[in-house]
């Protein structure tokens, strides 16, 4: 019986997510199709980087998502620690592997882009390096979540780690930038800033929207699965107790 109130809250989420899921999937599919078409076939090649600039339409949204997901995890972790909200735990747990995936995509595409630009698969460029460290932070979070027999303890330990990591991300980023100026006088790619041409900006923004909704859809699915798993566990425990 005591377990029952725990599920009172997720029911709302289950209803809401079921209603929203098709919309998220739909938006993700449409924007990704249009964005990829515009990015790969319509947008012009860059005057300096040529065709390889098209990697940007996957790379930049993935890198944005990598940061966005970590921020989301930090917020969820704070909510989980302050209000002991079960759903926040589940969101943080479900988001971590997705964030790691986006980070990995950003790293892989960055490396693919670096091969024609720098002539090597990897340089210790400040941005690449700090994204790599972000990837390690994700891995640590995932490992800590799964390191305990009691999932609740894993979730809370991971929540503390996510907050500590969140405080550290700017410090690490700063120190890596600073370290890089010492060792690498190579030019850093500037994506044009606000001077980026609209024909390139639109597919980029569309892809960002696509990645965001793709992430939300996956997050819904994963949290639903997580809730189902917890329910199952509770039922099994109840039966074992009987």
């Amino acid at each position: 019986m005591a377990n029952l109130h725990k599920f009172a809250n997720p029911t709302l989420f289950l209803r809401l997510s079921r209603a929203l899921l098709p919309w998220c999937v739909g938006i993700a599919v449409v924007t990704m199709a249009v964005g990829l078409y515009l990015g790969l076939f319509v947008a012009p090649p860059d005057y300096q980087q040529g065709e390889s600039v098209r990697i940007m339409y996957v790379h930049v949204p993935a890198a944005w998502m990598a940061l966005f997901v970590y921020t989301l995890m930090a917020v969820a972790s704070a909510v989980s620690l302050i209000w002991r909200h079960l759903l926040a735990d589940l969101v943080a747990k479900a988001a971590a592997p997705l964030g790691a995936g986006f980070t990995l995509i950003a790293l892989a595409t960055g490396s693919l882009w670096g091969k024609p630009m720098w002539g090597t698969w990897w340089v210790w460029d400040a941005r690449l390096t700090s994204v790599l460290i972000l990837f390690f932070l994700y891995l640590g979070h995932i490992a800590l979540t799964h390191a305990f027999d009691d999932p609740g303890r894993g979730a809370r330990a991971a929540a503390i780690l996510a907050l500590v990591g969140f405080v550290n991300v700017p410090i690490i980023k700063f120190s890596v930038d600073w370290w890089n100026t010492l060792h690498q006088p190579a030019s850093v790619l500037k994506l044009g800033g606000p001077a980026i041409h609209p024909t390139m900006l639109w597919p980029l923004l569309l892809m960002a929207v696509a990645f965001t909704f793709y992430f939300i859809a996956l997050l819904f699915l994963r949290v639903r699965g997580e809730i189902a798993a917890r329910k199952l566990r509770a039922l099994q425990l109840a039966r074992a107790a009987r």
Partner: protein
């Protein structure tokens, strides 16, 4: 009452700590961080010979001379105030040329010539290492056009 007192102490302690940390960071940022010596530093400071140090500056026009052995190169770098002669044995980077900003690592010889073990040049055609630009600005010989690769 006592508990409240204690919590207040902790918050005060945290604020003082964070404030002091911020002050340290700001002080550190204010002091110019340099990763190499400019030719002016070499001329004015009494840098010890035989220690590995880094120097940086622009390669002086028409100062590059290949020595007779074919692998040793002598050239000069400048920050527009002073120049420093450098000798280097080995293969120079592709982008090494006159007017180029470079950083060299090696040691100062007793005769005032810098014996380089390693020479780093910029990777991009229209790019000056920001440290070189800063050093030029500091010595008061910064021309705005230099920043966009007019030295080529």
């Amino acid at each position: 009452m006592k508990r409240k007192h204690r919590r207040l102490m902790f918050v005060l302690f945290a604020l003082v700590g964070l404030g002091a940390a911020t002050a340290l960071v700001l002080t550190a940022l204010e002091e110019n961080i340099v990763f190499f010596h400019s030719p002016t530093d070499v001329a004015e400071k009494d840098l010890p010979a035989g220690r590995t140090i880094r120097v940086g500056g622009l390669v002086v026009e028409q100062s590059i001379q290949k020595q007779a052995d074919g692998v040793t190169v002598a050239f000069q770098i400048t920050d527009m105030a002073h120049t420093l002669p450098i000798v280097y044995t080995g293969i120079l980077p592709d982008l090494f040329r006159e007017g180029q900003g470079i950083v060299a690592e090696g040691e100062l010889r007793a005769d005032g010539v810098f014996a380089a073990r390693e020479v780093l040049a910029k990777h991009d055609e229209t790019y000056m290492p920001p440290e070189v630009a800063d050093a030029l600005k500091k010595s008061g010989h910064w021309k705005e056009t230099d920043g966009t690769g007019a030295e080529q």
